[in-house]
Symmetry: D2
Subunit: 413 residues, 4 copies
């Protein structure tokens, strides 16, 4: 879904300090453990099934993230490397055409074997080989690539939550899937009193130029000219979204993009994914079953079309990704711009000026998805905390609702 | 998929001898155990996934067959019966509209809960209540209904094998799914030298009038007039089917029904399901992986369209279900008419003269499927042995290939 | 859609009397003229468009029926025959794989050229060559084949009415498409008081053995044994069908075949094709616009699923095609068995015992459609009068509603 | 497909000079006549059929453009206006939800009535009423709205050519559809020697601020900051595109966006729409049949995915719409930027800062299409000459190939 750091492209030999390697190893271990921890309260069935082709089984996520270390690190680093299982190259390759053919995405839930226990053995085996590699020391290229793949596994950790939530919505009665320890939905904070924060027109710098990790699509850093704009300090709340519904929002074509209008009419959609109205109460599906909507919490699992329609109804608009980034960097995140919900921007996902796709398979990480998707900014309660930054560009198709996505509004001044 | 014995309809009180009840209880236990035994070497993942909407997960079969005893026996027999889980009525109802709404068939593989262990508890709990019922004695109506549901579970046992075989074909490398004890594919016998056995024209009696169990669709017994015909003593072998393929059978439209021709061209089908040609060898997918085709064994997993095309190529035709039944009853099964492979007949599945659908939910067992399906006769290596009889009418859509289906040819004299 | 007379297969030279040839020529002329007459009040647009892939544009029917004479008569009879237009072989071949590839059926309405006027020139040109052939005299083989193709054009004449009616239903306001002279819908007669006519069990002869023309699928004549049955003297009326609707017929699953139930629920079907309820009045679409339903007329444009559901509701069943034929031959058609509406039978369309497909392209006329279709008997107000006979076997898919199809009920005694 | 001028929004009374009105009337007449002229050599069938739901029948275009004058001009201007035909409001409303329901787009080719002659009468009748209105004088609001609808009809004139070209590709042999007078394809000029023209980084003004007509989506005029870039002086030629094909361009995934790759593999696409390889010659479908590809002409009927893949292969990229506009305004069009082929830009179609949708039905003209489409610039040989300007923003889905679309490349300096 995302990318390779620019540093990866500098492939000259470059010794990395032992301390830095140690820190990376700890990061590696922590990340690898967390993937298993997510599944620790789940049954074998829970991590087997696939509810739509956009989502993957959790067992597949566990294997694929491991496959990535095996394929991009171990295979080129260890002479005469013998793969753990030669079939895995095909089964757990997500979309890297340069690596080879891929098992059909829509059938991932039909992979009854390897079993969970075999996948866990696979993980341990690869981790052991990775440990040996770390012990030998890493050059800069390897260091950067491993760092990238740690971030890659973190991306999949968020998907594990969102894909699994989608799957649980097909079991029509309540289970407590996660232990109390795993706070996801309960970390959402109530929306406060809203303010519109103004920014003057001018040239702004956009994109990362940081020493710390970023994906290739976050650069190159470059200038954009923005007209004066204002952005809301708060996410849109359930209460406001309910007002939109109650005002006939899903029945009035003038709020909706044409493509969206035909879709919601064809499928008789009248509310967000995971909502249902039962005896005049609005309920939402959560990891612990059907719960009543809490009006003051931010509205979530909203797709681009809904976000856009809500903005039209409100007489505002979605921010561009540039406006969002400028606001996020100026506000020190005091407005919950990050770590609550991904926020749709009006920006179609495209390359920054001067962006170059890396060569080889890793070049397929980000660039080839730059059409028909829209940029989301900010991170969510399901995103690992050290995976969030103001320059981060997430992207999904405008009809996608199964991520933890919300709405922040803007306007031209 | 099939039906209720005529006796069920006599609902007057009628005491059944203790010995007969004891025998039924043993039959019940044996049947219930066998369902679990089929799954005993399979992982939780194996019994969770669903490879197409025509097939069901094995976990679902385990639950549904239990649901049938709970719904049709316990619920009406036990005053103030409290269901094991009120959601199960919806989840494990296959197609009984008279019982209520049904969970969407295509989503059965998304039911991550109840888990396997919860389903096993469900089975034990219902079996315990059934035992108590048996201990109290059964009237004729209950006796007949339980007998029907035992046969119902046997039907599902065959489907467990065929549905699971379909699922395993999506895991593209070899596993030994069953222990040596479970002989299915290995029970197929080589085809011997073929003979064409003649029958003279005349009136024949068709259908069951037996005292022993039969489904409603096997009656009423009635007369049909048959012109003189001959039927082959042997099933078609892999060798003969390979000749058909080698002779361009899948490329010559005149052998094929029009509907079939468009399908095989659209999907580029050139051989039976589960076959593939690898380095000039024909392999077939089995429960223990890809195996080379054995020429002398009967060809299997053939659909009606293929059977019909093969017959055209051979200058013969498929037998009608009447011809098949007359032959089977005359031959004492010396020609492997039963217990090897289901055999397609040219008869569309329809009601026998005077057939009446039973009232209530159980009436949905058979009658409502009487359109666009074709009758198969004979049973297969996956059919429980005491579930096979000469009057048995199995039925599938003409495009279905995932059952253990073969070809026997006939001709008009 | 249907077939070749058995006589065609006797290909020995056999001189035909001049008088018989003259009569055939008159038949030819009358038939060819009628096709043009059907279109005489229609615009170029009317005969151009195609409303579904099951139906064809009238312009295409005009060309295809001409193509049949060119392909099956002129081409083999005239040495060095130069086709009228070499592209027409591809464009106007309906489904004869033995002739060659076919223009995709669903795109027939996109054939803007040849224009109507070019097609009319094509017709005249072929007719002229046919006249020359007739003038030279015909042997039996040619005679029979021409007779077959005259019947073929008559079949298409009925389709011209039914396909065009379907097309007109997409123009949502009223036109008078045909002149007063063309009586189709207005030839339907009111249903009278119904009687149930009994027939005793026994052996009956089925199929044609006539000297006059019949299609190959009407033979060979053979015996069938029928149990005692009774058949209604009258077609089902709109009034009775409205009672079925008012009684919740489309909401009660127990009346419907399983496949039908899912379809009518999925598509929210609650009444026959061409009906609509407007301000509490039932209207039907006709060739002269929306008209109020006349209760005493027979219900039409009913598919097999509806006919079957109505029969279940009524506690009766559809007749088999054998029962229908026995009744029709005994009653001298005093019960409007013919010339009103095609009547669905419970018989799946299959070969009579001993049926052999003719060799060559003409063998594709009937046999290859013998799966998943149901036999209709009797003819309709849209069928040319001399194209109707008691042994005639029409066939359509059970979901087809756009033919002039009605219901006659039967029961087992 | 496009929009309303900003001036329209000033609705105060404002007398327009007689001379200006006279000029507008001449423009009106010329435009209305041209629509009929396009069809003058076409048959009734040619203007009836619809080859895909994205395209409309020419008869429908003739009626819809007339409907627009009736609905937006006559209806609000003439007291107690009686519509020409009350059904036309529904039939010829393209997508204006504020006007009411619309006849299903995919069925436009099934509207056999009104006939061509009735549509021509409709046109004359509305023109007559428009003439009367012009004679009474126009206020500014009416003037602007009529001017907008003249441009609207011009847009449809281009679509008439592109939609009809698509339709003719289904008639698989050659016709000369247009007279020699109608030059479309023959107006394409050979590509000359290419140069890369550089532009320095800086702030540029984008969008129209002209007194002459423009659509709402071309404004408001605003500033953008562009990094230094260079743009090619020439369109990509057939010769260059053939090199891409010969180099395996359609077989190498790394050139393609992920979504595009799956599409071309699924549909086995290996060349542009309308091309075919026949006996080792590349032919293209034209208005006068299949013609050999001329290497020096610009490649056309290219979709966004192909344009993007070609750019990747070439090591360049598509220009943004801003870069294109800056280049077009600086070059005085000496590089065939306009009037040859629409050129894909990398810009997703979105609102300019400060863009507001007009209120009422006319507000649906442009804004509601601002998702998942890409901006094309420059006009084509099928565009009416006075309908082309440097600020014009055309937009289509990235998979669309049936417009006259080509490729111009750019690069970041």
């Amino acid at each position: 879904m995302t990318a390779v750091s620019e540093q990866c492209q500098k492939s000259h030999y470059d010794v990395i300090a032992t301390e830095k390697i140690k820190a990376l190893w700890q990061n590696y271990q922590r990340t690898r453990d967390y993937s298993l921890q997510i599944c620790s309260t789940l049954s074998d069935e829970d991590i087997q099934s696939q509810s739509m082709s956009d989502a993957s089984p959790l067992k597949w996520h566990l294997a694929h993230t491991t496959w990535a270390f095996e394929t991009f690190i171990l295979k080129p680093s260890i002479p005469n490397y013998q793969p753990f299982n030669p079939h895995f190259e095909f089964l757990f390759n997500s979309y890297y055409n340069a690596i080879g053919a891929q098992y059909p995405r829509a059938n991932r839930g039909l992979l009854i074997r390897p079993t969970r226990s075999e996948v866990e053995t696979y993980r341990r085996s690869i981790d052991k080989l990775m440990k040996a590699l770390f012990d030998e020391g890493l050059d800069r290229e390897l260091y950067n690539l491993i760092e990238l793949l740690i971030h890659h596994e973190q991306q999949h950790q968020e998907l594990m939550f969102t894909d699994f939530k989608h799957l649980t919505s097909f079991t029509p009665f309540d289970y407590q899937y996660f232990s109390q320890g795993v706070k996801i939905e309960s970390n959402l904070l109530p929306v406060k009193s809203n303010a519109s924060i103004g920014f003057s027109s001018g040239l702004y710098n956009i994109g990362s130029n940081d020493d710390s990790f970023y994906f290739d699509n976050e650069g190159p850093r470059h200038r954009v000219f923005l007209e004066a704009f204002a952005i809301d300090s708060q996410l849109v709340s359930n209460r406001e979204y309910l007002e939109f519904i109650d005002d006939g929002g899903y029945q009035e074509p003038s709020y909706w993009l044409s493509e969206a209008w035909y879709k919601i009419k064809e499928k008789s959609i009248t509310h967000p994914l995971y909502w249902q109205n039962k005896e005049n109460k609005w309920l939402e599906h959560t990891f612990s079953g059907e719960k009543e909507i809490v009006p003051e919490l931010p509205v979530k699992h909203i797709n681009y079309f809904e976000a856009n329609a809500f903005a039209s109804w409100k007489g505002k608009r979605l921010p561009s990704e540039y406006e969002w980034e400028v606001a996020a960097q100026s506000q020190n995140n005091s407005f919950n711009m990050m770590e609550q919900l991904w926020q749709w921007t009006s920006s179609s996902y495209n390359a920054y000026p001067g962006f170059k796709t890396a060569s080889g398979a890793i070049g397929e990480y980000n660039g080839k998805f730059m059409v028909n998707q829209y940029v989301l900014r900010g991170g969510s309660v399901a995103t690992p905390a050290d995976h969030i930054r103001t320059t981060y560009r997430n992207f999904f198709y405008p009809g996608a609702s199964w991520q933890f996505t919300g709405i922040r509004l803007a306007e031209t001044l």
